[in-house]
């Protein structure tokens, strides 16, 4: 518990987490508002619960920047050494850091998801945006969980690479581009894509498209090509995050600080 308190103090006594949190909220809610605000009132492109969460992947990108910076700035400014000097148990420190950052990501995720949904209700009072199925609930409330796990992945990458620019570039390019580009590989591309973590995370959120009235994409949120069920998708994404963190912590333990 002490370590969680320490990492919380470290996170909130610098400015970048606050900026990142504000940007994540702004980007997510803003994009969702643009999608929902421009949707049709009747016909094919009407607003759905899924389309209120259109902007979640952009907010997730910002969250990963926040999470990576939480570690890489420690390496950049040498405070990681001060930290290991104060608490030689590196595993405990790094797991505590990942936990605190993940909790912050969870809160930002829930705020942005329900903020987007709330704003959509204001913009399209006539659309059916009520959360009246578990698919609807997961699509909105699940965003915070996905943000939290994405934050753990980003912390792990930050520990492994130690450089802000490198870690952020890798995370953003991978999450925003690489997974989709892999689909373009002839033959096997789609099979690989089914198991890529952010695609699987998207499956957890959007399921089989029930929250989007059964439609594949068009009106905003895209459904995932992953073959796992929603529950297993969450477990898979979580396992990837935990495995990456374990590798990162193992590396940091052996390495000279």
């Amino acid at each position: 518990m002490t370590l969680l308190a320490v990492e919380r103090m470290k996170l909130f006594t610098t400015r970048s987490p606050w900026w990142c949190a504000l940007i994540a909220l702004g980007v997510t809610i803003g994009f969702s508002a643009l999608i929902v605000g421009n949707a049709d009132n009747t016909g094919e492109f009407i607003a759905t619960v899924a389309s209120t969460q259109f902007g979640y992947s952009f907010g997730m990108a910002v969250i990963m920047v926040l999470a990576a910076l939480a570690v890489t700035t420690e390496y950049r400014f040498g405070t990681i050494r001060t930290t290991f000097q104060a608490v030689p148990n590196r595993s405990a420190v790094l797991v505590a850091k990942a936990t605190v950052v993940a909790l912050m990501a969870l809160v930002i995720g829930e705020l942005s998801a329900f903020g987007s949904w709330g704003l959509a209700n204001l913009l399209k009072p006539t659309a059916d945006l009520a959360l009246n199925s578990s698919a609807d609930w997961i699509n909105v409330a699940g965003v915070g969980v996905v943000y939290a796990l994405a934050a753990v992945i980003a912390v792990a990458v930050g520990i492994l690479l130690r450089h802000s620019a490198g870690a952020i570039a890798l995370l953003l390019i991978y999450a925003l581009a690489v997974e989709d580009l892999i689909r373009l590989i002839p033959g096997i591309g789609d099979d690989i894509h089914e198991w890529l973590p952010f695609n699987v995370a998207n499956k957890f959120l959007t399921g089989d498209g029930l929250s989007n009235m059964g439609r594949a994409s068009d009106a905003g949120a895209r459904t995932s090509t992953a073959v796992l069920s929603q529950g297993w998708s969450l477990a898979y994404f979580a396992a990837v995050a935990v495995a990456l963190l374990a590798i990162a912590v193992g590396t940091a333990r052996k390495r000279d600080a």
């Binding site: 103090m9 470290k10 006594t13």
Partner: protein, 310 residues
């Protein structure tokens, strides 16, 4: 208090620290002396468990650093004053450190008071001058009221006032009965601060002794002699130990009393008979001369420049 045994650190092909063994006695200031690149900082990092030794080990009060519970209460260290997040305030920086070792929050204000940073405690550390950063680093080292303190080049880049402050501070810490281990590449600085010296070069131990012993052993004593009858005097002295200078001779290996008696016994008039103590830096360069990591060629020039004026 601090015991290093066969400490070795290899980075690829470079041996940064090579089979280093030394002891740091409790309740004294021990200087850790060596030219730049001799392995001082690497050794300090290994003491703190930040770098893993390739072989050998170092213990503090019999325990490895990682085995210490709430280590800031046992060992305080200032390795690099810039290891602070520039956007975090001095108080916030110390607050998380205090929290991590279960130290009361008021201890933060205590140490800020000790180093005289109370008025800027809420300011971001990135805006601090080097001297202020150094004080913040010392505040961090003192946070847990530790028995053992490590400082890596604490006076580097400081102005005379800052140097004097640090020097007095070290003495105060040792007077309080703490063990202080402080590294430097300046022997003159260490001579004023440390009572014991661990001297290394190229990662190897060169000597461990008291400071006075090291200085005495290092500086070769010579005697300057001026006389109108130099030629007669010269013939009475052992040939190899005489060096000509502009206005007289330098005699080494024979003390001034002996020369005076020789001159008096032979009726030689002396205009000057003065023992010359070699400068500390000169002594240091003589001893570590073979173990400087990066030779510059300027080194010999520097050695000449440091010779006592003739």
């Amino acid at each position: 208090m601090i015991e290093a045994r066969g400490l070795t650190k290899r980075y690829g092909k470079t041996l940064a620290v090579n089979d280093l063994s030394f002891d740091v006695a409790p309740g004294e200031v021990t200087g850790f002396l060596g030219p730049n690149g001799a392995g001082k900082s690497t050794t300090m990092r290994m003491i703190l468990g930040l770098d893993n030794p390739t072989s050998g080990q170092v213990t503090i009060g019999g325990k490895r650093y990682a085995e210490l519970k709430n280590p800031l209460r046992t060992v305080g260290a200032l390795l690099d004053a810039k290891w602070v997040h520039p956007n975090r305030s001095a108080r916030a920086h110390l607050a998380w450190m205090a929290k991590s070792n279960h130290l009361p929050a008021r201890r933060v204000d205590d140490v800020l008071e000790i180093v005289g940073l109370t008025s800027v405690a809420g300011k971001r550390a990135g805006g601090f001058s080097l001297g202020m950063s150094q004080r913040l680093g010392i505040a961090a080292a003192l946070l847990g009221d530790p028995e053992v303190l490590l400082f890596d080049e604490p006076v580097n880049g400081l102005d005379p006032e800052g140097i004097l402050w640090i020097r007095k501070f070290m003495h105060r810490l040792a007077d309080e009965g703490r063990t202080v281990f402080v590294s430097s590449h300046l022997l003159s600085e260490m001579a004023l601060t440390a009572s014991n010296l661990v001297v290394i070069g190229k990662g190897r131990l060169i000597s461990q002794s008291s400071t006075t012993e090291f200085v005495a052993r290092a500086s070769e004593n010579t005697v300057k002699v001026r006389s109108p009858q130099l030629d007669r005097l010269r013939s009475l002295l052992p040939a190899g130990d005489v060096t000509d200078t502009e206005d007289g001779i330098l005699v080494s290996g024979v003390d001034s009393e002996k020369i005076g008696e020789l001159a008096a016994g032979n009726g030689i008039v002396l205009h000057e008979l003065s023992p010359q103590t070699g400068s500390l830096e000169q002594a240091f360069m003589q001893i570590t001369g073979d173990s400087v990591e990066y030779h510059t060629g300027l080194e010999t020039e520097a050695a000449h420049a440091l010779e006592p004026a003739n």
